[in-house]
Assembly symmetry: none
Homo-oligomer: 397 residues x 2
């Protein structure tokens, strides 16, 4: 809440972003009007102002889907540097700062309650977060009588690594998909369309999608990213295609630079965006104005790109193809190494990957461990690469 605001508390500026590109109307509401409900639903507009105050101006039971990307409450304390000593551009914006978990909880419950009021009976809500905040969001959703339908894992194709090697690479974020109540059974879910777009198997709860980078990422005149946490359009596209219909109204209470609006327009949905920061709101307006809606036939989701999966040697142990403690040998049985339970090889006291140990025994700078090492099966040698092929076949199935 640290960013500058244009109006008095509770006031909101409407920014019209209709496709005609006509200028936005002047702010219509003063202090008094701020307490009342807007005469019409502000379709395809961005309301600039505090999201909880703006929510109060929307009529009850008026939106079909909600997508919310609230602050994560990252709690970063010190600067982080990469191994080359360059600094990581951290999310240190004031809007992500909360004094305590209880303050974050109060904030979360306030906006969720406001959102729930404006959801139609069969509307659903999506909230995205990381381990810093998503557990508190999920608890709040349950406590407010939302009904959880799925938690969806966005697996990032290209996450930032863990530079200090002290944790697992934080390679995903979590979205919670919930209906307004347990009784709402007629929510929108395009099961068949998703299945057809997913090689005729059911869409799973884990989605593999790249980060928002390159041309899609909004930059300012100096080439800096406009928003620190812009989400990829592919993510929003799958959300809206699965849980909304053309013509539906999608509400995003943390609009930012308007990914939800851009994708909604592209897919023939309407949006309502709430955003506190006028800089973000202006960037969103310009972005959405430039969007051309797709023709109906093009509404299908982009197929997930399927690169040949990288199979870790550990997967051969976990899959039972190779046993920890077994001996690997090269084709001529000149070299041998012991398989460890963690998927490494042991050569005396030296431990390393199948590639590193393969290189070491041969005195070479590098080695493809997959084609170098074999196991004994019924008196014959079997390449570990054959097992990798089997696992890849399973993955593809």
């Amino acid at each position: 809440m640290g960013t500058s605001r244009t109006g008095a508390a509770g006031a909101a500026t409407r920014i019209d972003v209709s496709r005609t590109g006509r200028p936005a109307p002047a702010p219509r509401m003063g202090r008094k009007a701020s307490l009342s409900v807007l005469p019409t639903l502000p379709i395809d507009q961005i309301l600039v102002g505090d999201c909880i105050a703006s929510l109060e101006k929307l009529p009850p039971e008026s939106v079909d889907v909600v997508f919310a990307d609230p602050p994560y409450n990252l709690q970063l304390e010190q600067a982080l540097t990469r191994p080359d000593q360059s600094r990581v551009d951290a999310v240190d914006d004031d809007w992500d700062k909360f004094a305590s978990f209880s303050e974050y909880d109060a904030f979360t419950r306030a906006w969720l309650a406001g959102v729930r009021r404006v959801m139609k009976k069969n509307a659903t809500i999506w909230v995205i977060g990381s381990y810093h905040n998503i557990f508190r969001v999920g608890t709040a959703l349950q406590d407010l009588d939302f009904w959880l339908l799925n938690d969806i894992v966005w697996r990032k194709a290209n996450p930032m690594p863990n530079f200090k090697g002290r944790r697992f690479t934080n390679a995903h974020e979590t979205m919670i998909w919930a209906s307004k109540s347990a009784e709402a059974k007629s929510y929108t879910f395009h099961y068949d369309a998703l299945k057809a777009g997913n090689e005729d198997v059911q869409m799973r709860s884990d989605w593999f999608i790249p980060l928002c980078t390159g041309e899609e990422r909004l930059k300012d005149a100096r080439g800096r990213k406009v928003h620190p946490t812009q989400k990829p359009e592919a993510l929003l596209a799958r959300v809206l295609l699965s849980s909304s219909n053309p013509g539906d109204v999608v509400l995003d209470p943390f609009f930012g630079t308007g990914t939800t609006g851009a994708v909604a327009k592209k897919l023939g949905r309407h949006f309502i965006g709430l955003e506190r920061d006028p800089v973000y709101a202006q960037a969103a307006r310009a972005r959405i104005d430039a969007v051309e809606p797709l023709s109906d036939v093009a509404f299908a989701a982009p197929p997930e790109k399927r690169a040949e999966a990288r199979v870790p040697f550990l997967a051969l142990i976990e899959g039972g193809y190779v046993k920890a403690g077994e001996i690997l040998v090269d084709e001529r049985r000149r070299y041998r190494a012991t398989v460890r339970a963690d998927g490494t090889l042991a050569l005396g006291a030296i431990v390393g990957s199948i590639h590193k140990i393969g290189a070491l025994v041969q005195g070479l700078p590098a080695c493809n461990g997959w084609t170098f090492w074999n196991v004994e099966r019924n008196g014959a040698l079997v390449s570990i690469d054959a097992f990798r092929a089997k696992i890849r076949a399973e993955l593809a199935a």
Copy 2:
């Protein structure tokens, strides 16, 4: 509680599961003894009884890792305990009344507080759950001052499809990995070994592991599965290999059919299992007794770079690898500095460590001098890190 119990409330039956397979000792503790702490840590044993009562009998700060697979289906709340430790009666018609989120929260906080007390300062805890309960678990962990390190997604290779087609296929479960407090920085994490077993790239937060099926799945005499949610050993293996050392004590407060114990024994770790249901406990004991530990080399603690002996640069001069007065250069020969007899470098009038001078010439805040500096040998550059490796090898011999 839905299942029968062998002792009085608060009492526990120890089941010894040592490899010799000798029969379990008779219950040792009556009502009085149940309030005191066990004289010795019940290593490699299963304590049959309420987990919160059993936790109170363990000494503080005594276990290295915790793996917990708590009940998450709210219909299992018949096993819940109220905040005052009294048991919720399992009257069929009434249990719905207790199946509230606040009951579940009280239960969760009670066992988490009990577990936290027995964790060593640098111990970590893993808790697995689904979207039904994991958000409440995560919130409770944060509120109890645990420090979240990662949330790990277990992506199931072969999940049960969503039969009605009203949701996404629920194809994953979530594990939270947390340290006892934000201040505990020296928790066990085998970064290097995980990376080496994963094609020499960091292990990510999303793990792809098959469900527990086939021979691994425990069946009773009539061929029915003994436990409804038996976890795959591969999952526990990755948990224990990443966050524990051989000889460590692993506590599992919801032991079930003992996957944690079986994997711990296989990997040379000790376990303590708490289980309310004697049928599960007996099945676990038989299962663990049949486990043969892997050979040492398969699970011995992997060597870690951070733990290697420190070698002062002066030792390279004293060992004759580098001569005082020689010139050090970086790989691209952009920078140079002179070796001084005391093991420092000279850059004009400036004198400092190999690290400090390396940082200085590059204008960076820090630098690893070992990997930055090189000497000329026969026209080629040789990293001073190679000499350090030789000295380390001499030290080890």
